[in-house]
C-alpha cells in the first residue's frame, strides 16, 4: 500500500469514527459527505495517483447522492411504505371477503342438500350432483387465498427492504399532504370541495374499517334537502 493510500485510509477511518462518536450511528449519507470532504482536500494537479483517487472518490460520492435521490423519488412518488402497506391490507380484505362469500355459498349448498334429502330418485341425485359441483367450485377460495397471501408476504418483504434502505441512507419520508378524512356525521355536503376531474374520485372499495356505511351515505344525501 502506498503512503498516499494509507493516509487516505486513515483519514477515512478517523472521519467515520468521529462521526459515529458524534452521532451514535453512521449512515451512507454521512459516508458520502466524508468522501466529498476528502475529494475536495485532494489536489488533482499534484500527481496522477492523486488525480485518480480524487476522481474515484468523486464518483463514489456522486453514486451515493444519486441512490439517495432515487430513494427520495420512490417516497415522493408513491409514499412507498404507505402504498405497500395499503396494498397488503387490500389484498388481505380480498382474502377475507372471498372466504366469507365462499362460506355463505357452501352454507346454502349444505341447506339445499339437507332439504333435498327426502325427495329421492333421480331428482335428488341431480340436486346432490349439482351441489357437489358448487362445493368443488368453492375450492377456488383456498387456492386464490394462498396465492394472494404469497403476494402479501412478498410485499411485506419489499416494505422491509425499503425501510432498511431508508435507514441506511438516513432519509425520512416526506410528510403526507393528504388531508385527514372528514367526519362524515358532521359533514356539510355543500362545503365539500370536489376535485375538478371526476377521475380523481375513483378510489375503489375502501377498507372495511374506513368505509362509509350505507346509513352514512343516506344521511349525506338527505343533507341536500
Amino acid at each position: 500500500m502506498s503512503d498516499m493510500q494509507s493516509t487516505l485510509g486513515r483519514t477515512l477511518l478517523t472521519s467515520m469514527i468521529k462521526t459515529r462518536e458524534k452521532k451514535g450511528d453512521i449512515t451512507l449519507q454521512d459516508v458520502g459527505g466524508i468522501f466529498i470532504n476528502m475529494a475536495s482536500s485532494l489536489n488533482p494537479s499534484n500527481s496522477v495517483a492523486d488525480n485518480f483517487v480524487h476522481q474515484e472518490i468523486a464518483k463514489l460520492a456522486k453514486y451515493i447522492g444519486e441512490a439517495k435521490n432515487e430513494i427520495f423519488a420512490i417516497q415522493s412518488n408513491a409514499k412507498a411504505e404507505d402504498a405497500i402497506e395499503d396494498a397488503s391490507m387490500h389484498l388481505e380484505e380480498v382474502v377475507k371477503a372471498t372466504e366469507q362469500a365462499t362460506n355463505t355459498i357452501m352454507d346454502a349448498a349444505d341447506a339445499i342438500q339437507t332439504a333435498a334429502g327426502g325427495i329421492g330418485g333421480e331428482k335428488e341425485q341431480a340436486i346432490m350432483d349439482k351441489t357437489t359441483v358448487i362445493y368443488d367450485a368453492c375450492a377456488f377460495q383456498d387456492i386464490t387465498g394462498q396465492r394472494i397471501r404469497k403476494v402479501i408476504t412478498l410485499l411485506e418483504n419489499i416494505e422491509d427492504r425499503v425501510e432498511k434502505l431508508n435507514n441506511l441512507f438516513g432519509t425520512e419520508a416526506p410528510k403526507s399532504d393528504e388531508a385527514a378524512p372528514a367526519d362524515i356525521k358532521n359533514l356539510d355536503p355543500k362545503a365539500v370541495v370536489l376535485p375538478k376531474d371526476d377521475k380523481d374520485l375513483l378510489n375503489g372499495p375502501q377498507l372495511s374499517g374506513a368505509a362509509t356505511s350505507q346509513a352514512d351515505i343516506d344521511r349525506l344525501l338527505a343533507g341536500f334537502g
Binding site: P189, L201, P205, T212, Q214
Partner: protein, 128 residues
C-alpha cells in the same frame, strides 16, 4: 299510482357477475324486463334506442364511467328525468356528493343486499 313491474330497467356494470346478481335480485322483486349494458357508452346507446324506467349503474367502468353516463342522461332532452341509482364500491363522501350534484336519484354502496335495493328503488320509483 302503483309501480308498473313490466317497466324497462337497464343494469349497467362491467362485471357480468354483478349484472347477473342485480338481475336476479330484480327478478325476485318481480321485475323481469331487465336489459344489461357493460359500460356507460353501451348503456347510453341502449337508452337512446329504448328509454328505461330506471337505470341501475356501477360507477367505475371503462371506457365510460357511470358518472359520465349520469351526466349524459341528465343533459339529454328526453332522458333527463330517468331515475338513476348508482351502485358502487366508491363510498367516500366526496363520491356521494359529486353523484348527487350530477343528479343521481339514489346511491347504493357495494356490497348490498336485496333489502337495500328494494328500499332504494322504492324511494326512487315508488312503492311496489
Amino acid at each position: 299510482m302503483p309501480v308498473d313491474k313490466t317497466m324497462h330497467i337497464l343494469v349497467v356494470d362491467d362485471y357480468s357477475t354483478m349484472r347477473r346478481i342485480i338481475k336476479n335480485l330484480l327478478k325476485q322483486l318481480g321485475f323481469d324486463n331487465v336489459e344489461e349494458a357493460s359500460d356507460g357508452g353501451d348503456a347510453f346507446k341502449k337508452l337512446q334506442e329504448k328509454p328505461a324506467g330506471l337505470v341501475i349503474s356501477d360507477w367505475n367502468m371503462e371506457p365510460m364511467t357511470g358518472m359520465e353516463l349520469l351526466k349524459l342522461v341528465r343533459a339529454h332532452a328526453t332522458l333527463k328525468d330517468t331515475p338513476f341509482i348508482m351502485v358502487t364500491a366508491e363510498s367516500k363522501p366526496e363520491n356521494v356528493i359529486a353523484a348527487k350534484q350530477a343528479g343521481v336519484s339514489n346511491y347504493i354502496v357495494k356490497p348490498f343486499n336485496a333489502e337495500t335495493l328494494k328500499t332504494k328503488m322504492t324511494s326512487v320509483i315508488g312503492e311496489f
